[in-house]
Symmetry: C2
Subunit: 358 residues, 2 copies
């Protein structure tokens, strides 16, 4: 569970007060293919949820998960989780291409759904999810953790809402990741299964763009992907980028890649640069390179100052608590449903539009 290993990265922030009492909100888990499930569930549990049941075809994985979340019953069959009437939400980090099917089943059983990102690998999956939400009125949430589980990202959002940098004109995101290929499961290298680099780790970037710019829609202007240096994994894309323009005129550029060098003390030197009319923000999300291995730094420049704001342990992740309350109260405070789907739509659109460089 080293911070050098992105596959099992489970971010921790300031502990916030639970939003509900024990027993108010019960979560069942189906699909443990990606380690993100740990961060997703620990966030929910901290906010007051209970994880009561887990199913994965791999018994070892289910046991490891149950050990991490004491009190979780290991289900013998997928249906046991779906059919448990006491469970209000299904959470899943199944293989990317299978996440939609879990959500459709969850909603058919009257449960909210909390998916690892990326939630979909095709626009057809997304359409079926949109229809299911319309039909059921349930919440299809997606854990875009690079924003909702990073304290710098949360704090930057508040600064922008406060108007500190004026109107947001552009967001540049860099999402480098450490590959560590031997640690990855086989599905991770099959494009039909993981969806392509822009769909996969690009989804964080587009979600951040929509959020920080306050846009409700955007258009992909250009995208590209490459496999520069991993001929042993021909379906891996080790590099991708895209540029978009939003309905409010703000633009976005992001790059994602699998080239984090082993000398970096964390899994990726993620950055976000937000240019506004009255100032700009840089986030060094996971490390302050060559200085501190601690992350969560916001660099703010405005009309009157330069300021470094380090917020590790100071902000927390309000997302999970808001999500629980949204499910309990029928609100959309954690993340509007259409925003969740739009980010997914645009990353698949970028993937589909991408030119292949090498």
């Amino acid at each position: 569970m080293s911070a050098k290993d992105g596959m099992n990265y489970a971010p921790e922030g300031k502990k916030l007060e639970p939003v509900c009492k024990k027993g108010d909100f019960r979560v069942g888990v189906i699909g443990l293919d990606h380690g993100h499930i740990n961060g997703m569930c620990s966030g929910l549990v901290e906010a007051g949820a209970e994880v009561t049941m887990v199913y994965d075809p791999d018994a070892q994985k289910a046991e490891a998960f149950a050990a991490r979340f004491p009190g979780t019953k290991i289900a013998a069959r997928r249906e046991d989780v779906l059919e448990d009437k006491s469970i209000q939400m299904i959470a899943s980090a199944a293989v990317t291409a299978d996440r939609c099917a879990v959500g459709l089943d969850a909603m058919s059983h009257g449960k909210h759904y909390f998916s690892d990102k990326a939630p979909f690998t095709t626009l057809d999956q997304l359409s079926s999810a949109r229809a299911k939400v319309t039909e059921t009125g349930l919440i299809w949430a997606v854990c875009y953790s690079e924003r909702v589980q990073n304290e710098a990202a949360v704090h930057a959002g508040r600064l922008i809402m406060d108007g500190v940098i004026g109107r947001v004109l552009q967001v540049i995101g860099m999402g480098p990741h450490r590959l560590n290929a031997p640690s990855r499961p086989e599905w991770f290298f099959r494009k039909e299964r993981y969806g392509g680099i822009l769909t996969d780790i690009g989804s964080h970037q587009i979600e951040q763009f929509l959020y920080y710019s306050g846009a409700s829609d955007a258009r992909v202007l250009h995208a590209k992907v490459a496999n520069y240096a991993h001929p042993d994994y021909p379906e891996l894309e080790d590099f991708g980028d895209a540029t978009l323009v939003a309905d409010n005129g703000a633009t976005n550029y992001f790059r994602v890649d699998w080239f984090t060098p082993d000398g970096l003390r964390t899994w990726g030197d993620g950055r976000t640069f937000i240019l506004g009319t009255e100032g700009y923000i840089e986030m060094r999300k996971y490390i302050d390179v060559a200085r501190s291995p601690e992350g969560n730094h916001v660099f703010l420049v405005t009309g009157d100052r330069e300021e470094m704001i380090s917020v590790t342990g100071k902000v927390g992740f309000p997302y999970h608590g808001e999500l629980i309350l949204d499910c309990l109260n029928g609100t959309q405070n954690a993340m509007p449903q259409e925003h969740t789907f739009k980010a997914a739509e645009l990353c698949i659109s970028a993937q589909n539009a991408a030119m292949r460089i090498v």
Copy 2:
């Protein structure tokens, strides 16, 4: 001449030994429309050149320049500089659209030419310059100062040549600039005169891309420009970006803008991120934001380490000395002629291809 004022920024680095004796290399100056001429000429003088004559239609500008470079004679007519047989090179920071004409005249009089960037505003100008160089065999040099007059940029080039980050896959450049509109001349806001933001400050970015990636040619894949916030200057583009792919497969993204906030202690928080197969480099060229107002920082991450390398006063600018020697010896060590022209060509191509956002 504050560092907060980009128009008169004249970078200083470690003093290097002159490459020639007094009298070996004489420079005449025609056109003082941009303050860059000071940095261009101080670089040449430090390297051993003499600036012997200056002409500008604005007598005040000529006098200020002559005071800054003692021993420089103020010419009454442009022709006096061109016809002075002792002068080997004409340097110019005329209005961007006029720089080509000065160079053609210089070469018609048998002199090498040293142009401020951007050297051209149209592809026709570039064609005429290429033809003139072919005809005369003289050197048409361009001062891409954001690389050749920044010690971090020079040092990064050496690290890359040494293979420290492996094969270069991508260069991301951010070139924000402070506008300070009242300090700018009228031509600066006329697009036909300054050429557009991608041609103007974008030229630095494309030159760096070609240099660090070792590419000899590239293709513009997408570009955009905008005037987001300066309705009083309708022909100003306050934002531009572009992405390119080189003939060797490396790609480039850059953003340039005029939104440096007043709170920043220098004219722009210029950054360059160079992603290689074995590591990456970040340059903080003019400031280490919210930490030090000193620039010239190289952040290097490789297979075994993170390292901050601050090189202010340690590297110098070998470019000007190499340029003098190229003129004296018929070599092309400072910058190959075709590289100089290719960078100019691509920034005009990006400008011509750019979609207008707002």
